[in-house]
């Protein structure tokens, strides 16, 4: 017990950590190269695994000859799908979106047939990484080729070629949400029948690759009947449960560790075939095994994202009051269903109405199998696709009505006084003010000046035209309320867990089940706990990512960490304070109700000068010489938080775009956005998340596309061809925030990880179209390569769905044989 020298200090409110631009704790190891990436790990006797992958998109495996590979220097074992068939189970799919969804099963390593280029057909285990890699080409696999199914619109036709011959169509499921039937809106067909104006469009939301910078990597160490797996994963907890279910290894015999993880963006939200194989191989050989992918393997075999064809109809009055929205989408599953493959478009289903008060809404989705790598979560997962569709169709409606696109939006969006607002999709939006965010974004952009410049350029017929595009978006974040997930047929809940351990020296360990991979949890969680417990930021250590250290968790995705996981931390801290209060009352010989807790100290009301810090209490219960009769000698606490609703960040993104009508080159002139993500715990981290999201959303609009050729080969299989933008390809971002506290959690946070990525894509495309609408352009297919933009301006249509023969998806490089040569195939947009 201490007596404070100056009673007056107790009166001063302690400075709050929440809201401070704290520099990150994580950086110390990352900027000095003292990192623990999975691939850094070396264990005694460790073997290296390489994967022999299918070069064909669709075929029966008729023979696998591994004899030469087995004789290669340093090779310890070669295993085929046949060797592992009995123990490998199927990669799990946790989201059967409909009761009759067809899941063809997903072997980690192909046994009888291959269904996409890059599918594993054999693995080599060798003494060194290079020996394992060298032996790959010694494995001889014979295939009987089958026709590849690649085009979704063809795949759903009657008597189409089949992706899997043991199921009778290429459709995995048909998911419907009808607001009329759900009781959340009117009759959609009637709304369209009664409408003055109907605008219909077909949008292509192209296939993307998450392209995290750290390639996937896994190390498995067997120890008797126990196994420890280190993996570059977003989801060590989910992975552990799933590996137990898939392989039959008891869950308590498995430990999964996600050490430093170099980005994920949904791409590491997976139970990867290679993780399962590495575990089985380590078990079989009784030796530690490491597998680290090459970048080409990553692009070819790790899951992709997006890939929807969207048919969108909007009904409106002549004055611009929307009457109904009808969405039908084809969603490419790829060849198999991975962890949440079918759930991604279904999650998006509820976001197509955006921020608008549609009286009627119907959504239908077909999940379609094709002979490509499966799709799954990629930053936004379903919500970017929905936002793109609604923000594009609102612009199309404005054009049809001859109205200002902002005016059409303003007429129809939810007003700030209408929150909480239940949408036509049945979601209850929590808080916000779309008007204010929009006005601030326009101010940041310098809107009137740019509109004026646009007019000048148009009048002077400038070859470089200017356009301004909007995206007034919202997203559902904080995944997720477990009961809601259950109602959507998801296989698990969305709670999060936290523990706080008060160490005898007054330091604090915070254990979180939300596993970071670049988001800065260690910093933000320290800020939360510093405020709750009144301990110094520096005295807090955040532990995560190891199922032996943080035994419970649902991990990191869906902008959930702070909203759900951070709240669990706050609730655990509240419990610590509650437990400490009992001990403090005992030691201070006061009534609990007479104690105040502020700045980390308990004081007795009306007795100035008496104080007991929470650190002193931690030491007191460690010694445990003197504590109340009716409590245990510990003030540590656990909490699990399960929200009752999602949170709904929103914002207005405005893009000003220059389009060179002679070359098709587009350049972002200015980009401004104002996001409302609720309470901001660390403005530095929030701004960083917005920047990173913008980069990925803009990249979808301008640069990135996973392109398959007519045989099902991924032609964007390296970073030479898959265009992750560089610093020179992206503009400066002007960002701002409004703050409407989220009512659903005590922090007031809404989530920020996906905002920039969800919002930006349609703003960019709308801007490009705004620049060239007067030239007759109605749509340009993403990504807006110079070639596509030029074709859309000069040849009509949306610029074609493929780059020219011999070029990459970017429309940049050309091979010698085709440079400058137009072939009938190239002019049709076909190729190869």
């Amino acid at each position: 017990m201490t007596v404070t020298e100056d009673p007056a200090t107790a009166e001063v409110a302690p400075e709050r950590e929440v809201g401070k631009a704290r520099r990150r704790k994580e950086d110390a190891r990352l900027i000095t190269g003292r990192t623990t990436w999975t691939d850094n790990m070396v264990l005694p006797g460790m073997l290296h695994m390489s994967v022999v992958r299918s070069p064909v998109a669709h075929g029966k495996i008729t023979n696998v000859d591994v004899s030469a590979a087995q004789q290669a220097p340093g090779v310890v074992a070669v295993l085929t799908g046949r060797d592992l068939a009995e123990e490998q189970g199927s990669i799990p799919c946790a989201w059967p979106v409909t009761a009759d969804m067809v899941n063809p099963g997903h072997p980690s390593i192909a046994v009888d047939e291959v269904n996409h280029v890059g599918e594993a057909v054999a693995v080599i285990v060798a003494r060194s990484r290079s020996a394992a890699a060298d032996a790959i080409e010694l494995v001889d696999v014979d295939y009987d080729l089958l026709p590849p199914v690649l085009d979704m619109e063809e795949a759903v036709k009657h008597e189409a070629d089949l992706c899997h011959d043991h199921i009778d169509s290429n459709t995995s499921y048909h998911f419907v949400f009808d607001a009329g039937e759900a009781g959340t809106g009117g009759d959609t067909e009637q709304a369209f029948a009664d409408a003055d104006v109907v605008v219909s469009r077909r949008f292509v939301n192209q296939r993307l690759i998450p392209a995290f910078m750290e390639p996937r990597s896994v190390v498995v160490q067997p120890q008797g009947d126990n196994f420890t797996m280190w993996s570059a994963t977003q989801i060590p907890h989910v992975l552990r449960v799933m590996l137990a279910m898939v392989t039959g290894i008891p869950e308590h015999k498995l430990r999964v560790v996600a050490p430093d993880v170099g980005g994920g963006f949904g791409g590491k939200l997976q139970v990867n075939p290679e993780e399962v194989i590495a575990l089985l191989v380590a078990r079989r050989l009784g030796k530690p095994v490491k597998w680290t992918e090459t970048r080409s393997e990553s692009l070819m075999a790790a899951h992709h994202g997006r890939d929807q064809i969207q048919y969108v109809d909007i009904a409106s009055t002549r004055e611009g009051d929307v009457q109904g929205l009808r969405v039908r989408i084809l969603a490419d599953m790829g060849a198999y269903l991975r962890l949440i493959t079918p759930g991604v478009p279904a999650l998006g289903a509820f976001m197509f109405p955006g921020i608008y008060k549609f009286p009627a809404y119907r959504f239908e989705c077909d999940g379609v199998f094709t002979n490509k790598v499966p799709t799954d979560a990629y930053r936004g997962a379903g919500r970017p696709e929905a936002t793109f569709a609604v923000e594009r169709i609102m612009d199309e409606l404005a054009v049809e009505l001859g109205m200002d696109p902002l005016e059409v939006r303003r007429r129809n969006w939810i007003q700030s006084q209408e929150f909480p607002f239940t949408t036509v999709a049945g979601l209850e939006y929590d808080s916000g003010d779309y008007d204010t965010a929009t006005q601030q974004a326009l101010d940041l952009l310098g809107y009137p000046e740019l509109r004026e410049e646009q007019r000048r350029r148009r009048e002077s017929n400038d070859p470089v035209q200017l356009g301004i595009g909007f995206s007034t978006f919202t997203e559902m974040c904080g995944l997720a309320p477990s009961r809601v997930l259950g109602s959507l047929s998801y296989g698990a809940g969305g709670w999060e867990s936290a523990s706080i351990r008060m160490l005898p020296t007054g330091k604090v360990e915070v254990v979180t089940g939300s596993t970071p991979h670049g988001q800065g949890h260690e910093t933000a969680w320290s800020q939360l706990v510093a405020d709750q417990l009144g301990v110094p930021f520096e005295d807090i250590e955040v532990l995560h990512g190891d199922t032996a250290v943080a035994p419970k968790g649902m991990d990191t995705y869906g902008s959930r960490s702070l909203v759900v996981g951070g709240t669990a931390v706050v609730k655990a801290a509240d419990k610590v304070v509650a437990k400490a209060r009992k001990v403090a009352a005992h030691l201070l010989e006061a009534n609990e109700d007479d104690l105040d807790f502020s700045g980390g100290k308990f004081t007795v009301r009306g007795t100035p000068g008496t104080a007991l810090s929470i650190q002193e209490i931690a030491l007191a219960v460690f010694a445990a010489h003197d504590y109340p009769e009716d409590v245990e000698p510990s003030i540590d606490a656990d909490a699990t938080f399960d929200p009752v609703n999602f949170s709904f960040p929103h914002g207005t993104h405005v893009c000003a775009m220059e389009v060179d009508t002679e070359t098709g080159f587009v350049k972002i002139r200015k980009y401004a956005c104002v996001d409302d993500v609720g309470t901001i715990v660390n403005p530095l981290i929030v701004e960083g998340q917005v920047h990173g999201g913008l980069a990925q959303g803009i990249a979808q609009a301008l640069y990135e596309e996973a392109v398959y050729d007519a045989d099902g080969n991924l032609t964007t299989g390296s970073f030479v061809d898959y265009l992750v933008p560089s610093a020179a390809d992206l503009p400066h971002f002007d960002t701002g925030n409004t703050v409407h506290v989220a009512p659903g959690n005590p922090i007031g946070a809404k989530g920020v990880g996906e905002a920039g990525c969800i919002a930006s894509t349609p703003a960019v495309v709308n801007a490009a179209l705004d620049a060239v609408r007067h030239l007759g352009v109605q749509d340009i297919r993403m990504p807006l390569t110079p070639e596509r933009v030029w074709r859309a301006i000069h040849q009509g249509g949306d610029g074609g769905d493929r780059a020219t023969a011999g070029s990459n998806a970017y429309g940049g490089a050309q091979t010698e044989t085709t440079a400058g040569v137009s072939t009938p195939q190239s002019s049709l947009g076909g190729d190869r």
Binding site: E26, T32, D39, T294, L684, V720, L730
Partner: protein, 164 residues
């Protein structure tokens, strides 16, 4: 096998390598210099950037034998906790990293850029580091960090606020 000798972060090493061994693999696997990472295999991402005799190179595009007799500096050799290089410090101050996987290469490339151009404009920074990919940050805070470091290294007190 071929014998190579090189000085890496101030320590001399002599090893037998296969002639095909890439410098980055030699650094990581033989010398334990795992601060330098491999991101792409095609020299696009720059995560493996180190300094070879003072020049930034992508160590996945250099054979270990080409570094025979050379001085190699990696992210592990430019500063330490408590004595950070100004570029390391600026990346921390300006939040120029998130997952941190590209960061070693990004820092090594930035040091090289600042050697050639001690006071780069925003555009010059963007073009100067375009050989290094980052998937997390959108680059804006990396650009700020490089400019902040430029200010510090040239002795100017004119630093940019992270919250511009």
């Amino acid at each position: 096998m071929t014998q190579v000798s090189m000085r890496v972060d101030g320590v001399s090493y002599t090893d037998e390598v296969e002639p095909r061994t890439l410098l980055v693999h030699h650094l990581r696997e033989a010398l334990g210099k795992v601060g330098t990472v491999v991101g792409c295999d095609t020299s696009n991402c720059g995560a493996c950037t180190v300094h070879l005799d003072g020049q930034a190179v992508k160590s996945c595009t250099v054979f270990a034998v080409q570094a025979d007799g050379a001085e190699v500096t990696t992210i592990e050799g430019i500063g330490s906790q408590g004595d950070l290089h100004p570029v390391q410090k600026a990346f921390h101050e300006m939040h120029g990293l998130q997952c941190g996987f590209c960061t070693p290469g990004m820092i090594m490339a930035s040091i090289d850029l600042l050697k050639e151009n001690p006071n780069p404009s925003e555009t010059e920074v963007r073009e100067g580091i375009e050989g290094n990919l980052c998937r997390c940050t959108g680059y804006q805070n990396i650009v700020r960090a490089v400019q902040q470091a430029a200010g510090e290294m040239s002795g100017s007190s004119d630093t940019l606020g992270a919250q511009a």
